[in-house]
Amino acid sequence: MSTLSIFYAVLFYVATLLLVVGLARKILQYMRSPAPLKIPTTPAPTTSTGVAYRMAREVVLFESLFKSSKWTWIFGWMFHFGMLLVLVRHLRYFVSDVPGWLLAIQPFGKYAAIMMVAGLGGLWARRFLVDRVRYISTPSDHLMLALLLGIGVSGAMMTFVSHTDIITLKIFVLGLLRLSPQPLPESLVLMAHLAMVATLMIIFPISKLLHAPGVFFSPTRNQADNPRERRHLADWAAKLEK
């Protein structure tokens, strides 16, 4: 097996480890830090079912963003749901027997790449065109968009322009999963794609991509509006009563 294949195998093990451990640590931190006061942004649902429904609307429809900025919403939603479809389509590399439904969505997934890339383009354009967004953009905001665009464009290249050897790739991926690394197809575009994907995985838990787990822990969105009905007391606050 080539050094390059070994390098990529190691890279993906390291990236996965950093992603999983990093995310787990962050999620544990969010779970453990107390929310001493009731601070849902009202009007808020009064029951936990209502809260689940509100959260679902935020995560699936980006409801609050829809209220604030239609352009950001359109581009943001295109990007995220394009990406989601793409990722689902990618599952075919990770299972040995591809189930029927996964096969069925393959043709749609293809065009999701265009949606994702267009959405990213729109979001990036805002960072230059809107003075307020330009003011708050840091170099890392630009790099993040560049990275995702890089992943999207390199992926789309393989889909629409120069196909890679999917069979060998699948053997490589399944090999990783079975802890017996196999050779990677020799394709520059694929290598670029994978290097960028690994980078994304590594920076995920140390960047603003924490918005993905973060939204579920946001007290203004995940608390029920019932402070008169229930006494809500954090441990550190209860100690003040002693």
Binding site: P43, E58, D141, P227, R228
Partner: protein, 522 residues
């Protein structure tokens, strides 16, 4: 520190998003609290020598105590959705008044000290160590935020800049940089029992004066009871209601409502304040300490119900925090909570907003009104931020919008809504909330009021509105001061219960009150 001159924008009736102009509000800051004020709240009297380390360790402490702060520091993607949502940005064009930029003042330091990326790649992610300039920026811009939560409505992750402002102020306090206005008032509240520092005899005096005024006016002996043991209702209202115009008109309104409904009630000289500036400076301990007076008064007087007068942030503290902090509410299974909750009558919401009480009495026909008495008024209603976005009235979400409006419509004939996008959960702050209601911040207040004033102008011009109905002591004080800057008369401002007061029919002399069985004997 001299307060500089400034220009007031000419209203157009339309809210426009300005192009940003850096530094327009840089260095604008309220007076710093002196040693005496600071120490009364348990903070250092002046900037401590090791402020840098103290501030960072305080930040660490708060990150561990408040999930909101921890998640909000991490989650922002700089999407910009909040950038045009803050009335202080809209009114000043200063980019540091954009919610995300206000957060960034703290986030840059958070990144530097608490994240991997900020420690090793500070330039890349915009991380900076805390310098004296940044600390001064904090003091400036964390006191140009009214903690109104408008930004939190629009952020896709619900990031509430008010939480970050509160943390910022708490860190500033802990290194000795307190704000004179908020901290002095909070000290008075904790020491004397109300924001104005009124001693008991002064309150008695005022209330007796009010009884005479109302008797002269109506011929009916409406009482303003104080410290009456065994009363059914304890009314907790902002102390401004005792002295300031137009606040006092609403106090008269509450008294008439209780009188007409035959509900026995009392106020307390020990807890003669609904407001609680502990919220503004983000200090759990200080908020709780101030609120404890209300618990003590309720236990002492043996009341069955606690009702809160017209005040926005006070209603937030009462509705959202009282159950947690002092046990006013329902559902406690611990000794501390039960001690008070066993005494309260849980067939009523605890605590209840005065609008909930009046709404219920009007709907059930227990009190009667003559709507035509308000016919000289064309009324619009300004939703107070803390009521709209941090609390509720009634049983269903959004009751905080419908109940006060229904009360107005039940006591008056002419009502007009301001433009959508400036009311309900999208309401614009009056510009003076969150501890900014001080003359040394007049420029911030006047400019921050501009979006609300634009919406108001529109209904004044197009619908002949001449009365701005409010349910907040701060809104009342702010608008009476700020309206004249925009060319309106301050007499246009008043409380919802001022309207109730005008229209309510009081049972005549000799007649029993409407709900005789409910009176006195409980």
């Amino acid at each position: 520190m001299a307060v500089r001159e400034f220009e007031v924008a000419k209203l157009t009736g339309e809210i426009k998003v300005p192009a940003l102009q850096e530094g327009t509000m840089a260095g604008i800051k309220g007076f710093i609290a002196n040693e005496k004020i600071q120490e009364a709240l348990g903070y250092p009297g002046e900037l401590v020598e090791d402020w840098h380390d103290k501030a960072i360790s305080k930040m660490g402490e708060l990150l561990g105590k408040y999930r909101s702060l921890q998640v909000f520091m991490d989650a922002c993607v700089h999407c910009g959705a909040c950038t045009d949502k803050c009335h202080y940005y809209l009114g000043t064009s200063d980019p540091k008044n954009m919610p995300v930029a206000r957060q960034e003042l703290m986030r840059q330091v958070y990144r530097r000290h608490f994240t991997f990326a900020g420690k090793y790649f500070p330039k890349l992610v915009g991380a900076k160590d805390l310098t004296k300039e940044i600390l001064d920026d904090w003091y400036s811009y964390y006191y140009q935020c009214s903690e109104c939560r408008r930004c939190s409505v629009y952020c896709p992750y619900g990031i509430d800049t008010a939480e970050i402002t509160m943390a910022g102020r708490e860190i500033l306090d802990s290194v000795g940089m307190g704000q004179k206005y908020s901290n002095e008032i909070l000290g008075k509240l904790q020491r004397i029992g109300n924001n104005l520092g009124l001693p008991g005899p002064a309150i008695i005096n005022t209330l007796e004066g009010l009884e005479e005024d109302v008797l002269d006016d109506t011929g009916i002996p409406v009482k303003f009871p104080l410290d009456v043991k065994g009363a059914e209702v304890l009314l907790i209202t902002p102390s401004a209601d005792f002295f300031s115009e137009p606040h006092v008109e609403s106090l008269i309104g509450y008294a008439k409502v209780f009188h007409a409904a035959g509900i026995s009630w009392t106020m307390s000289s020990h807890a003669a304040e609904a407001g609680n500036f502990g919220l503004f400076i983000g200090s759990y301990e200080n908020t709780r300490k101030a609120a404890m007076r209300i618990r003590d008064a309720a236990l002492e007087l043996g009341v069955k119900r606690i009702v809160v007068g017209e005040c926005g942030h006070a209603w937030r503290v009462a509705y959202s925090f009282w159950n947690t902090m002092i046990g006013v509410g329902d559902g406690a299974d611990d000794e501390f909570g039960k001690k008070l909750q066993d005494q309260l009558d849980h067939s009523y919401p605890q605590p209840a907003h005065i609008c909930e009480v009046t709404h219920d009495l009007l709907t059930r026909g227990v009190i009667k009104v003559d709507k035509s008495k308000n016919d000289d008024r064309v009324i619009t209603f300004h939703d107070s931020c803390n009521v709209s976005r941090a609390s509720r009235m009634g049983d269903t979400p959004g009751g905080q919008f419908t109940i006060p409006r229904e009360v107005i419509k039940m006591v008056a004939n002419n009502y007009q809504e301001m433009a959508p996008g400036t009311t309900h959960e999208a309401t614009f702050c009056c510009g003076g909330g969150g501890g900014l209601l001080t003359d040394d911040l007049m420029e911030v207040r006047v400019k921050g009021a501009q979006p609300r004033m634009e919406a108001y102008k529109e209904v004044v011009d197009n619908n002949k509105v001449n009365f701005l109905a409010l349910i907040c002591a701060i809104c009342k004080a702010q608008f009476t001061k700020v309206l004249p800057y925009y060319g309106y008369d301050m007499s246009m401002v008043g409380g919802v219960h001022q309207l109730v007061s005008t229209a309510i029919e009081l049972p005549g002399l000799g007649e029993g009150p409407a709900e005789a069985e409910a009176a006195g004997d409980e």
